[in-house]
Protein backbone atom coordinates (compact mmCIF):
# COMPACT_ATOMS: atom_id res chain seq x y z
CA UNK A 1 0.00 0.00 0.00
CA UNK A 2 2.89 2.29 0.64
CA UNK A 3 3.41 2.42 -3.09
CA UNK A 4 0.95 5.33 -3.21
CA UNK A 5 3.12 7.33 -0.88
CA UNK A 6 6.16 6.31 -2.88
CA UNK A 7 4.52 7.39 -6.12
CA UNK A 8 3.55 10.73 -4.58
CA UNK A 9 6.98 11.30 -3.10
CA UNK A 10 8.73 10.30 -6.31
CA UNK A 11 6.53 12.64 -8.32
CA UNK A 12 7.32 15.46 -5.91
CA UNK A 13 11.05 14.89 -6.03
CA UNK A 14 11.09 14.47 -9.80
CA UNK A 15 9.67 17.94 -10.26
CA UNK A 16 12.78 19.59 -8.79
CA UNK A 17 12.88 22.91 -6.98
CA UNK A 18 10.78 24.99 -9.32
CA UNK A 19 7.80 22.68 -9.59
CA UNK A 20 6.37 20.77 -6.70
CA UNK A 21 3.48 18.37 -6.78
CA UNK A 22 0.01 19.32 -7.89
CA UNK A 23 -2.30 20.43 -5.08
CA UNK A 24 -4.20 17.67 -3.37
CA UNK A 25 -5.68 19.51 -0.43
CA UNK A 26 -7.20 22.94 -0.72
CA UNK A 27 -5.06 25.68 0.75
CA UNK A 28 -7.72 26.09 3.42
CA UNK A 29 -7.57 22.42 4.45
CA UNK A 30 -3.82 22.68 4.68
CA UNK A 31 -4.12 25.84 6.80
CA UNK A 32 -6.18 24.13 9.52
CA UNK A 33 -3.68 21.27 9.59
CA UNK A 34 -0.91 23.87 9.97
CA UNK A 35 -2.66 25.57 12.87
CA UNK A 36 -3.01 22.21 14.61
CA UNK A 37 0.69 21.47 14.12
CA UNK A 38 1.41 24.91 15.56
CA UNK A 39 -0.81 24.33 18.60
CA UNK A 40 0.74 20.95 19.39
CA UNK A 41 4.25 22.34 18.91
CA UNK A 42 3.40 25.12 21.37
CA UNK A 43 2.17 22.54 23.86
CA UNK A 44 5.55 20.87 23.77
CA UNK A 45 7.66 24.03 23.72
CA UNK A 46 7.23 27.50 25.16
CA UNK A 47 7.31 30.30 22.65
CA UNK A 48 10.13 32.80 23.12
CA UNK A 49 8.82 35.89 24.88
CA UNK A 50 10.77 38.45 22.90
CA UNK A 51 8.71 40.45 20.36
CA UNK A 52 11.81 42.02 18.76
CA UNK A 53 13.37 38.65 17.96
CA UNK A 54 10.05 37.27 16.75
CA UNK A 55 9.50 40.20 14.41
CA UNK A 56 13.09 40.00 13.16
CA UNK A 57 12.73 36.29 12.35
CA UNK A 58 9.47 37.08 10.51
CA UNK A 59 11.19 39.81 8.48
CA UNK A 60 14.06 37.54 7.46
CA UNK A 61 11.63 34.70 6.77
CA UNK A 62 9.27 36.85 4.69
CA UNK A 63 12.16 38.31 2.71
CA UNK A 64 13.01 34.80 1.57
CA UNK A 65 9.46 33.42 1.36
CA UNK A 66 8.24 36.19 -0.91
CA UNK A 67 10.97 35.37 -3.42
CA UNK A 68 10.18 31.66 -3.30
CA UNK A 69 7.92 29.83 -5.72
CA UNK A 70 5.08 29.91 -3.18
CA UNK A 71 5.04 33.44 -1.77
CA UNK A 72 1.47 33.14 -0.45
CA UNK A 73 -0.16 30.43 1.59
CA UNK A 74 -3.77 30.50 2.77
CA UNK A 75 -3.17 33.24 5.33
CA UNK A 76 0.52 33.78 4.72
CA UNK A 77 3.62 32.37 6.38
CA UNK A 78 3.91 32.43 10.16
CA UNK A 79 7.36 32.28 11.74
CA UNK A 80 7.75 31.63 15.45
CA UNK A 81 10.66 31.20 17.85
CA UNK A 82 10.57 28.41 20.44
CA UNK A 83 12.27 28.82 23.78
CA UNK A 84 14.21 25.55 23.58
CA UNK A 85 17.92 24.73 23.85
CA UNK A 86 17.91 21.98 21.25
CA UNK A 87 18.89 23.24 17.80
CA UNK A 88 15.92 22.51 15.59
CA UNK A 89 13.46 24.00 13.11
CA UNK A 90 10.08 22.75 11.96
CA UNK A 91 8.06 23.45 8.82
CA UNK A 92 4.38 22.67 9.18
CA UNK A 93 1.58 22.80 6.61
CA UNK A 94 0.59 26.17 5.15
CA UNK A 95 3.85 27.82 6.16
CA UNK A 96 3.78 27.53 9.97
CA UNK A 97 7.54 27.59 10.60
CA UNK A 98 9.28 27.40 13.96
CA UNK A 99 12.93 27.80 14.86
CA UNK A 100 14.29 27.10 18.32
CA UNK A 101 16.40 29.51 20.35
CA UNK A 102 19.10 26.79 20.19
CA UNK A 103 19.31 26.87 16.40
CA UNK A 104 19.10 30.65 16.36
CA UNK A 105 22.19 30.64 18.60
CA UNK A 106 24.04 28.25 16.31
CA UNK A 107 23.72 30.94 13.61
CA UNK A 108 26.30 33.72 13.70
CA UNK A 109 24.96 35.93 10.94
CA UNK A 110 21.64 37.00 9.41
CA UNK A 111 22.67 35.23 6.21
CA UNK A 112 22.99 31.92 8.07
CA UNK A 113 19.58 32.44 9.67
CA UNK A 114 18.11 33.25 6.25
CA UNK A 115 19.53 30.01 4.85
CA UNK A 116 18.08 27.98 7.74
CA UNK A 117 14.64 29.56 7.22
CA UNK A 118 14.98 29.13 3.44
CA UNK A 119 15.42 25.39 3.99
CA UNK A 120 12.13 25.30 5.92
CA UNK A 121 10.44 27.46 3.26
CA UNK A 122 11.72 24.92 0.73
CA UNK A 123 9.74 22.21 2.54
CA UNK A 124 6.60 24.35 2.35
CA UNK A 125 7.15 25.13 -1.34
CA UNK A 126 7.60 21.48 -2.18
CA UNK A 127 4.48 20.56 -0.18
CA UNK A 128 6.43 18.14 2.02
CA UNK A 129 4.07 18.70 4.99
CA UNK A 130 1.10 17.88 2.76
CA UNK A 131 2.82 14.74 1.47
CA UNK A 132 3.49 13.73 5.08
CA UNK A 133 -0.19 14.20 5.91
CA UNK A 134 -1.15 12.04 2.96
CA UNK A 135 1.32 9.41 4.06
CA UNK A 136 -0.43 9.34 7.44
CA UNK A 137 -3.76 9.06 5.67
CA UNK A 138 -2.38 6.12 3.77
CA UNK A 139 -1.87 4.16 6.95
CA UNK A 140 -4.27 1.22 7.05
CA UNK A 141 -4.87 1.59 10.74
CA UNK A 142 -6.94 4.69 10.05
CA UNK A 143 -9.18 3.22 7.41
CA UNK A 144 -10.49 -0.08 6.16
CA UNK A 145 -8.24 -1.81 3.68
CA UNK A 146 -11.05 -2.02 1.13
CA UNK A 147 -11.46 1.74 1.08
CA UNK A 148 -7.80 2.61 1.14
CA UNK A 149 -6.85 2.37 -2.52
CA UNK A 150 -9.73 4.30 -4.01
CA UNK A 151 -10.11 6.58 -1.03
CA UNK A 152 -6.56 7.83 -1.00
CA UNK A 153 -6.50 8.46 -4.73
CA UNK A 154 -9.79 10.33 -4.53
CA UNK A 155 -8.76 12.34 -1.50
CA UNK A 156 -5.40 13.06 -3.01
CA UNK A 157 -6.57 14.45 -6.29
CA UNK A 158 -10.14 15.39 -5.68
CA UNK A 159 -11.03 14.06 -9.08
CA UNK A 160 -12.56 10.70 -8.36
CA UNK A 161 -16.05 9.85 -7.15
CA UNK A 162 -17.28 12.06 -4.37
CA UNK A 163 -18.54 9.13 -2.29
CA UNK A 164 -15.20 7.39 -2.09
CA UNK A 165 -13.35 10.63 -1.51
CA UNK A 166 -15.74 11.62 1.22
CA UNK A 167 -15.03 8.37 3.07
CA UNK A 168 -11.29 9.12 3.01
CA UNK A 169 -11.84 12.71 4.11
CA UNK A 170 -14.22 11.58 6.82
CA UNK A 171 -11.60 9.13 8.04
CA UNK A 172 -9.04 11.94 8.09
CA UNK A 173 -11.40 14.21 9.98
CA UNK A 174 -12.27 11.55 12.55
CA UNK A 175 -8.62 10.77 13.16
CA UNK A 176 -7.38 14.34 12.84
CA UNK A 177 -5.78 14.42 16.29
CA UNK A 178 -3.86 11.19 15.71
CA UNK A 179 -2.64 12.38 12.30
CA UNK A 180 -1.39 15.66 13.66
CA UNK A 181 0.23 14.17 16.76
CA UNK A 182 2.03 11.64 14.62
CA UNK A 183 3.18 14.38 12.28
CA UNK A 184 4.48 16.67 15.03
CA UNK A 185 6.36 13.81 16.72
CA UNK A 186 7.93 12.91 13.42
CA UNK A 187 8.83 16.50 12.52
CA UNK A 188 10.50 17.16 15.86
CA UNK A 189 12.44 13.94 16.11
CA UNK A 190 13.17 13.03 12.49
CA UNK A 191 12.32 15.84 10.11
CA UNK A 192 11.16 14.88 6.65
CA UNK A 193 12.35 12.08 4.39
CA UNK A 194 16.04 12.10 3.57
CA UNK A 195 15.57 13.10 -0.08
CA UNK A 196 13.13 15.83 0.95
CA UNK A 197 15.72 17.29 3.32
CA UNK A 198 18.29 17.54 0.55
CA UNK A 199 15.65 18.96 -1.79
CA UNK A 200 14.71 21.65 0.76
CA UNK A 201 18.40 22.60 1.07
CA UNK A 202 18.76 23.09 -2.68
CA UNK A 203 15.50 25.02 -2.98
CA UNK A 204 16.51 27.28 -0.10
CA UNK A 205 19.87 28.01 -1.70
CA UNK A 206 18.12 29.10 -4.88
CA UNK A 207 15.64 31.32 -3.03
CA UNK A 208 18.22 33.26 -1.01
CA UNK A 209 20.07 34.27 -4.18
CA UNK A 210 17.05 35.55 -6.08
CA UNK A 211 16.51 39.19 -7.03
CA UNK A 212 15.02 41.06 -4.12
CA UNK A 213 16.86 38.86 -1.64
CA UNK A 214 20.61 38.46 -2.15
CA UNK A 215 21.75 36.65 0.99
CA UNK A 216 25.00 34.73 0.84
CA UNK A 217 24.12 31.06 0.09
CA UNK A 218 27.33 29.97 1.79
CA UNK A 219 25.49 30.72 5.03
CA UNK A 220 23.97 27.23 4.79
CA UNK A 221 27.40 25.67 4.32
CA UNK A 222 28.90 27.48 7.30
CA UNK A 223 26.01 26.73 9.66
CA UNK A 224 25.98 23.04 8.67
CA UNK A 225 29.75 22.91 9.04
CA UNK A 226 29.45 24.35 12.55
CA UNK A 227 26.84 21.74 13.45
CA UNK A 228 28.91 18.92 11.89
CA UNK A 229 32.01 19.92 13.85
CA UNK A 230 30.20 20.31 17.16
CA UNK A 231 28.20 17.13 17.63
CA UNK A 232 25.93 17.12 20.65
CA UNK A 233 23.90 14.45 22.32
CA UNK A 234 20.87 15.98 20.68
CA UNK A 235 19.50 13.59 18.09
CA UNK A 236 16.77 15.85 16.80
CA UNK A 237 15.98 17.26 13.38
CA UNK A 238 18.71 19.65 12.34
CA UNK A 239 21.38 17.71 14.22
CA UNK A 240 21.39 14.00 13.58
CA UNK A 241 17.77 12.86 13.36
CA UNK A 242 17.18 9.24 12.50
CA UNK A 243 16.14 9.99 8.91
CA UNK A 244 17.74 13.42 8.61
CA UNK A 245 20.93 13.34 6.54
CA UNK A 246 24.16 13.95 8.39
CA UNK A 247 25.02 17.67 8.56
CA UNK A 248 28.36 16.97 6.85
CA UNK A 249 26.56 15.32 3.89
CA UNK A 250 24.19 18.26 3.62
CA UNK A 251 27.09 20.72 3.85
CA UNK A 252 28.98 18.97 1.05
CA UNK A 253 25.92 18.78 -1.23
CA UNK A 254 25.08 22.42 -0.56
CA UNK A 255 28.62 23.52 -1.41
CA UNK A 256 28.58 21.45 -4.60
CA UNK A 257 25.20 22.95 -5.60
CA UNK A 258 26.42 26.52 -5.04
CA UNK A 259 29.48 25.83 -7.18
CA UNK A 260 27.61 23.97 -9.93
CA UNK A 261 24.91 26.63 -10.29
CA UNK A 262 27.25 29.56 -9.74
CA UNK A 263 24.99 30.90 -6.99
CA UNK A 264 26.08 34.23 -5.62
CA UNK A 265 24.80 36.52 -2.95
CA UNK A 266 26.25 39.43 -1.08
CA UNK A 267 27.70 39.83 2.35
CA UNK A 268 27.20 42.97 4.36
CA UNK A 269 28.35 43.84 7.87
CA UNK A 270 25.14 45.81 8.50
CA UNK A 271 23.17 42.57 8.52
CA UNK A 272 25.54 40.83 10.91
CA UNK A 273 25.50 43.86 13.19
CA UNK A 274 21.71 43.92 13.43
CA UNK A 275 21.59 40.12 13.86
CA UNK A 276 23.97 40.32 16.82
CA UNK A 277 22.20 43.32 18.28
CA UNK A 278 18.75 41.74 18.10
CA UNK A 279 19.84 38.31 19.38
CA UNK A 280 21.95 39.82 22.19
CA UNK A 281 19.11 39.26 24.63
CA UNK A 282 19.35 35.46 24.29
CA UNK A 283 23.14 35.17 24.16
CA UNK A 284 24.83 34.51 27.48
Amino acid sequence: MNRFAIVLAAAAIATGCGGGPEPKLTEENEYYAGRAVGALTLRRYKSLDNPAINEYVNLVGYTVAMASDRPETFKGYTFGVLDADEPNAIAGPSGFIFITRGLLLVCETEDELACVLAHEIGHVNQKHPELALEKSLNDKKWMGAADTASGVAAFGLGLAGKGKAASAVESARQNFGAFIKNMVDSLITKGYERDQEFEADLCGLDYVCRPGVGYDPNGLVTVLDRIAKNPTKNQYGWMHGSTHPEPSDRRDKAAAHIKAKGLKGTTDPARTTRFKEITKAIRK
Binding site: R70, L159, A172, R271
Partner: protein, 168 residues
Protein backbone atom coordinates in the same frame (compact mmCIF):
# COMPACT_ATOMS: atom_id res chain seq x y z
CA UNK B 1 -3.94 -4.95 -9.49
CA UNK B 2 -6.45 -2.35 -8.40
CA UNK B 3 -3.70 -0.45 -6.58
CA UNK B 4 -1.49 -0.45 -9.67
CA UNK B 5 -4.30 0.89 -11.83
CA UNK B 6 -5.04 3.65 -9.35
CA UNK B 7 -1.33 4.49 -9.17
CA UNK B 8 -1.17 4.77 -12.94
CA UNK B 9 -4.23 7.01 -13.03
CA UNK B 10 -2.75 9.08 -10.21
CA UNK B 11 0.56 9.60 -12.02
CA UNK B 12 -1.29 10.27 -15.26
CA UNK B 13 -3.33 13.03 -13.68
CA UNK B 14 -0.32 14.52 -11.91
CA UNK B 15 1.53 15.01 -15.17
CA UNK B 16 -1.55 16.33 -16.96
CA UNK B 17 -0.88 19.54 -18.84
CA UNK B 18 -2.39 22.69 -17.30
CA UNK B 19 -5.07 24.42 -19.38
CA UNK B 20 -3.93 26.85 -22.04
CA UNK B 21 -4.71 30.53 -21.40
CA UNK B 22 -7.07 32.23 -21.41
CA UNK B 23 -8.97 30.34 -18.72
CA UNK B 24 -10.82 31.06 -15.50
CA UNK B 25 -9.12 30.42 -12.20
CA UNK B 26 -10.20 30.66 -8.57
CA UNK B 27 -8.19 32.34 -5.83
CA UNK B 28 -7.46 29.70 -3.18
CA UNK B 29 -5.72 31.81 -0.54
CA UNK B 30 -7.32 34.35 1.77
CA UNK B 31 -5.61 37.27 0.06
CA UNK B 32 -3.28 37.33 -2.96
CA UNK B 33 -1.37 40.34 -4.22
CA UNK B 34 -1.69 41.37 -7.88
CA UNK B 35 1.52 43.11 -8.99
CA UNK B 36 2.73 45.09 -11.97
CA UNK B 37 5.39 42.52 -12.88
CA UNK B 38 6.09 38.79 -12.71
CA UNK B 39 8.02 39.04 -9.48
CA UNK B 40 7.26 39.14 -5.76
CA UNK B 41 9.20 42.38 -5.58
CA UNK B 42 7.12 44.18 -8.24
CA UNK B 43 4.76 46.94 -7.16
CA UNK B 44 1.42 45.79 -5.70
CA UNK B 45 -1.67 46.90 -7.64
CA UNK B 46 -4.17 45.48 -5.17
CA UNK B 47 -5.36 42.21 -3.67
CA UNK B 48 -7.85 39.56 -4.72
CA UNK B 49 -9.67 37.48 -2.13
CA UNK B 50 -10.45 33.83 -1.52
CA UNK B 51 -12.77 32.41 -4.18
CA UNK B 52 -12.57 35.47 -6.43
CA UNK B 53 -12.45 34.50 -10.09
CA UNK B 54 -9.67 35.80 -12.31
CA UNK B 55 -8.93 35.26 -15.99
CA UNK B 56 -5.48 33.85 -16.64
CA UNK B 57 -3.97 35.41 -19.76
CA UNK B 58 -0.41 34.11 -19.63
CA UNK B 59 1.91 32.01 -17.50
CA UNK B 60 5.52 33.05 -16.95
CA UNK B 61 7.51 30.85 -14.58
CA UNK B 62 5.61 30.72 -11.30
CA UNK B 63 3.57 33.83 -12.09
CA UNK B 64 0.34 34.25 -14.04
CA UNK B 65 -0.78 37.41 -15.83
CA UNK B 66 -4.41 37.85 -14.88
CA UNK B 67 -7.37 40.10 -15.41
CA UNK B 68 -9.19 40.67 -12.12
CA UNK B 69 -11.78 42.98 -10.63
CA UNK B 70 -10.47 44.82 -7.58
CA UNK B 71 -12.71 47.30 -5.78
CA UNK B 72 -14.99 47.42 -8.81
CA UNK B 73 -12.18 48.23 -11.23
CA UNK B 74 -10.72 45.89 -13.83
CA UNK B 75 -7.03 45.39 -13.16
CA UNK B 76 -4.46 43.50 -15.21
CA UNK B 77 -1.37 42.30 -13.41
CA UNK B 78 0.67 39.37 -12.17
CA UNK B 79 -0.14 36.92 -9.39
CA UNK B 80 1.65 33.89 -7.96
CA UNK B 81 0.32 30.91 -9.90
CA UNK B 82 0.41 28.89 -6.65
CA UNK B 83 -2.27 31.17 -5.18
CA UNK B 84 -4.83 30.29 -7.85
CA UNK B 85 -6.17 27.06 -9.28
CA UNK B 86 -8.02 26.59 -12.53
CA UNK B 87 -11.69 26.74 -11.60
CA UNK B 88 -12.83 23.20 -12.58
CA UNK B 89 -9.96 21.63 -10.57
CA UNK B 90 -10.63 23.90 -7.61
CA UNK B 91 -14.32 23.06 -7.58
CA UNK B 92 -13.70 19.32 -7.81
CA UNK B 93 -11.08 19.49 -5.03
CA UNK B 94 -13.51 21.29 -2.74
CA UNK B 95 -16.31 18.87 -3.64
CA UNK B 96 -14.06 15.86 -3.00
CA UNK B 97 -13.51 17.20 0.52
CA UNK B 98 -17.29 17.32 0.99
CA UNK B 99 -17.49 21.10 0.69
CA UNK B 100 -19.60 23.50 -1.33
CA UNK B 101 -17.60 25.27 -4.04
CA UNK B 102 -20.34 27.89 -4.41
CA UNK B 103 -20.22 29.02 -0.78
CA UNK B 104 -19.29 32.64 -0.11
CA UNK B 105 -15.70 33.71 0.30
CA UNK B 106 -15.95 34.81 3.90
CA UNK B 107 -18.11 31.99 5.26
CA UNK B 108 -15.81 29.45 6.83
CA UNK B 109 -16.69 25.82 7.22
CA UNK B 110 -17.71 25.14 3.65
CA UNK B 111 -14.76 23.17 2.40
CA UNK B 112 -14.96 20.49 5.09
CA UNK B 113 -11.84 18.34 4.97
CA UNK B 114 -9.88 20.01 7.78
CA UNK B 115 -11.94 23.05 8.67
CA UNK B 116 -13.02 25.16 11.67
CA UNK B 117 -15.26 22.34 12.91
CA UNK B 118 -12.33 19.90 12.83
CA UNK B 119 -10.28 22.47 14.72
CA UNK B 120 -12.98 23.11 17.33
CA UNK B 121 -13.34 19.38 18.03
CA UNK B 122 -9.57 18.88 18.22
CA UNK B 123 -9.08 21.90 20.47
CA UNK B 124 -11.78 20.76 22.86
CA UNK B 125 -10.78 17.08 22.97
CA UNK B 126 -7.10 17.83 23.51
CA UNK B 127 -7.67 20.88 25.74
CA UNK B 128 -5.55 23.04 23.45
CA UNK B 129 -7.33 26.35 24.07
CA UNK B 130 -4.21 28.07 25.43
CA UNK B 131 -2.00 26.82 22.61
CA UNK B 132 -4.46 27.86 19.91
CA UNK B 133 -4.62 31.30 21.53
CA UNK B 134 -0.84 31.53 21.05
CA UNK B 135 -1.20 30.52 17.39
CA UNK B 136 -3.85 33.23 17.01
CA UNK B 137 -1.40 35.67 18.58
CA UNK B 138 1.34 34.70 16.14
CA UNK B 139 -1.03 35.23 13.24
CA UNK B 140 -2.42 38.55 14.35
CA UNK B 141 0.77 40.51 14.82
CA UNK B 142 0.71 43.91 13.21
CA UNK B 143 3.42 42.80 10.81
CA UNK B 144 1.26 40.07 9.29
CA UNK B 145 -2.01 41.98 9.13
CA UNK B 146 -1.79 43.46 5.67
CA UNK B 147 0.15 41.95 2.82
CA UNK B 148 0.47 45.22 0.92
CA UNK B 149 1.63 47.23 3.95
CA UNK B 150 4.00 44.40 4.74
CA UNK B 151 5.75 45.14 1.45
CA UNK B 152 6.69 48.56 2.81
CA UNK B 153 8.15 47.15 6.00
CA UNK B 154 10.07 44.51 4.10
CA UNK B 155 11.36 47.17 1.71
CA UNK B 156 12.80 49.15 4.60
CA UNK B 157 14.26 46.00 6.13
CA UNK B 158 15.94 44.99 2.86
CA UNK B 159 17.26 48.46 2.30
CA UNK B 160 18.79 48.63 5.78
CA UNK B 161 20.45 45.26 5.20
CA UNK B 162 21.66 46.15 1.69
CA UNK B 163 19.65 43.32 0.25
CA UNK B 164 18.04 43.20 -3.22
CA UNK B 165 16.25 46.26 -4.51
CA UNK B 166 12.61 46.50 -5.40
CA UNK B 167 11.88 47.71 -8.90
CA UNK B 168 10.62 51.11 -7.81
Amino acid sequence: MHEILVSLVLVGVMVQDPPKPPYEATVQVKSAVVRDGASSTAEPLGTVKLRDTVTVLEIQGTFARVKATIDGKEVEGWISSKSIMDSPTYKSTVQAAGGDPKAGAESHGYTKGFDPKTEADFKSTEHLEAEYAKVDGMESTEFRRDLVKQDKKLREFRKAGNLGEFRK
